[in-house]
């Protein structure tokens, strides 16, 4: 699983050397951002069901749709938000890359899923994040950049 620390250690191991000063600087740099990341992860975990429900409502609007479809949409959004929560914890895009994005295109194509709807949902979540009501500035920036990363992968 890729994270700031594992990337550095794996590279050091490939070269057969001990963690160097620059390796340790890189690890320290990731720790400096850790407080903001963990705050974002904590707030997201606490509100994940609410955020998912809001996004689904925003996408489906007031029209009447098949509830089964809506439930599946909610399930998927919840799944991606959970992976974003993991990314916020690790400080890298590893969980999204390995469990969310790898193979995503094939699944979307095979199931004829409407990616535009997902993009709209995640864009809605991103635009709705309110500072400081939801989380601090820095935490919101970390959260939004991961949402953008996912939107980019879906586009």
């Amino acid at each position: 699983m890729k994270s700031a620390v594992t990337t550095v250690v794996t590279a050091a191991d490939a070269a057969g050397r001990f963690p160097s000063t620059s390796d340790i600087e890189a690890v320290k740099g990731s720790f400096d951002r850790a407080a903001a990341r963990m705050q974002a992860a904590e707030k997201l975990a606490a509100g994940i069901d609410q955020v998912t429900a809001d996004a689904v409502d925003a996408v489906y609007g007031k029209g009447s749709y098949d509830q089964a479809n809506k439930d599946k949409c909610a399930r998927d959004i919840h799944h991606y938000l959970r992976l974003i929560n993991y990314c916020l914890v690790t400080g890298g895009t590893g969980p999204l890359d390995e469990w969310g994005i790898a193979g995503m295109r094939e699944v979307i194509r095979a199931q004829v899923l409407p990616t535009a709807a997902y993009i709209e949902a995640f864009a809605h979540i991103r635009d709705r994040v309110c500072v400081p009501r939801d989380m601090d500035q820095q935490a919101a920036a970390e959260f939004k950049s991961l949402l953008d990363y996912l939107i980019n992968a879906l586009s």
Binding site: M1, K2, S3, V5, T6, V8, V9, T10, A12, D13, G16, R17, F18, P19, I24, V27, K28, F31, A34, A35, M38, A41, E42, L44, A45, A46, I48, L81, R82, N85, Y86, V89, T90, G91, G94, P95, W99
Partner: protein, 182 residues
Amino acid sequence: MLDAFSRAVVSADAKGAPIGSSELVALRKYVSDANKRIDATLAITQNVSCIAADAVAGMVCENTGMTQPGGNCYPTRRMAACLRDGEIILRYVSYALLAGDPSILDDRCINGLKETYMALGVPTANAVRAIEIMKAATVAIMTETNSGRKMFEGINSGSGAQCREIAAEAASYFDRVINAIS
């Protein structure tokens, strides 16, 4: 490999749940202890040759036959292999300590180590003794209970007493290696 963060992610994913406040308590501690962890890692990396050489010398002194013809550290080529292995174990312990998780030590150092030593005819009791000396030396340097230069001398980042918990974690990684080969 995993670190403290990705370990939390893997166990949360098995439950299908996001990582919430309760899991974050341990991770926040990992982050707040970062400087101690880094100092402790440096304690290993800056003293590798010394720790490994002392451990192998100690092992030989207790079993003088080892460097005689027929002994396992004779000729010097085999003694050198022994020193090299000591440094490799220290390297993986330093990785595990920095990551706060033993997975890299398990996957890349311990896995198959006993089988390799058996195949090469390395006496595991002696290898265990050398690792025990390395463990004692590492803990002593980190907690500043060593007799030589003190790790925090001249710098204000901390003290040996504050590194006790991290030193215990490092000791547990050495114990993993000892348990795996004995």
